[in-house]
Symmetry: C2
Subunit: 248 residues, 2 copies
């Protein structure tokens, strides 16, 4: 397990699929070479917990491929997802040695890692790195705020619709013109994970998915594959939080 099959082809930052939007997006070629010399790859399997809250965390990383989640737990087992991390997203917090959240791989993952301390030094030495990390963190904060509206004020049906739209937007390859209403995509989360994202139970998630299917808003095939049959209605159902980036 954890064989690194494609090590060689990955070692070149030039060919990195997330280069344009990753932490290194603003770096010039000299800076890239510096980063390239200290980076290393790690793979994780679907379902694996990468670190638990409270564990020591000695690296930071960018997601090259796959999906990870950040989760907070209460003693009695209640769990809330607080981060959904897709390719190019950054993992870890400079200046913090101990993880604040559980970090888990929900699919097989490849991560581009840096040991924490050297990375922190680079952060001080390379304004481009600092600027890009700031920008990414501000984006995440905006996303967290939209998410808070969902958690605090939306109904179960609105929550599910919003999640589907979000996954669709962040997941489907942005074709120049959207192919009408019939997007087909895979939700990289189990029902339980969707429930943890949305702050509800898996049963309610399941019911709302079925309800949206019955109403002709979406289609379901396989277990995680969704077709948007009526995008305008899906957006309508989502409640359109003051066009918080979802409508675009």
């Amino acid at each position: 397990m954890m064989l690194q099959t494609s090590r060689l082809s990955m070692d070149q930052c030039k060919t990195c699929p997330i280069g344009a939007s990753a932490i290194c997006a603003r770096c010039d070629s000299a800076e890239m070479r510096t980063l390239e010399s200290v980076k290393f790859y790690r793979r994780f399997q679907a379902g694996q917990t990468i670190v638990y809250a409270g564990d020591r965390m000695d690296f930071v990383a960018s997601i090259v491929s796959g999906v990870a989640t950040l989760n907070l737990n209460m003693e009695d087992g209640r769990r809330q997802m607080v981060g959904l991390l897709l390719p190019a997203d950054f993992i870890g917090r400079p200046g913090r040695t101990v993880a604040a959240f559980d970090l888990m791989a929900t699919t097989d993952m490849l991560m581009c890692c840096f040991r924490r301390k050297p990375f922190e030094d680079l952060l001080l030495a390379m304004p481009h790195l600092n600027q890009r990390l700031l920008e990414m963190t501000l984006d995440e904060l905006d996303a967290a705020r939209d998410w808070m509206l969902l958690l605090g004020r939306k109904t179960a049906r609105e929550k599910v619709a919003t999640l589907l739209i979000m996954v669709m937007r962040r997941t489907t390859t942005r074709s120049p013109e959207p192919p009408g209403d019939l997007q087909d995509f895979e939700v990289p989360l189990s029902r339980v994970e969707m429930a943890d994202f949305l702050g509800m139970t898996e049963e309610t998630v399941s019911r709302q998915m079925s309800s949206l299917r019955r109403d002709g808003v979406i289609g379901l095939s396989g277990i995680r594959r969704v077709q948007v049959a009526d995008l305008p209605q899906l957006v309508e159902v989502a409640g359109d939080d003051a066009d918080g980036g979802l409508v675009a």
Copy 2:
């Protein structure tokens, strides 16, 4: 109204009450002089909306005194608070010309402002400023994530207890040794604002406050003043999200 009575004494950054933890905390004295020369103060009254989501926003600012909130609205009037901003907190997003959230003053406020464009230039020129803003943004993101757990998974009673602890911790002057259980502080939010913070109705907030009082966990005097009668129990009730900074 909006008389600036203490302008002269405020013009000196040296005497600024939030200097230690504001955006300028890491700047050296040369950098401080630069900032000082372009900063300006603005006052706002309690209840005033500073900007609406979608409005042009041509400045960024630090809160010198008072309390502001960021809010998201849905078309049908549902509202969720997504930011609670206290002295030293930073307002506005570099690189964004249009506000993403409603920004309102819940108390009388004094803000230390910079025009956006010059500030963005300074951000590029002063790594210290960039580093500090990154640090503050990361802190806010952590806080947003704790908040998401509250919104998604906590009961009404837990929500109220958590808010009280949070306000107590961020509001009371950190005396060297905490004076036993009997903290007395003011919640700078109306019941409606508390409800918007917690993702519930004002009636439920009110009921839970009364319930906590009946159970001897807190005392209430005036309308916004709270005495913590039994801190351990209050922390217990709050559900103590994996000691997410609340216990400490």
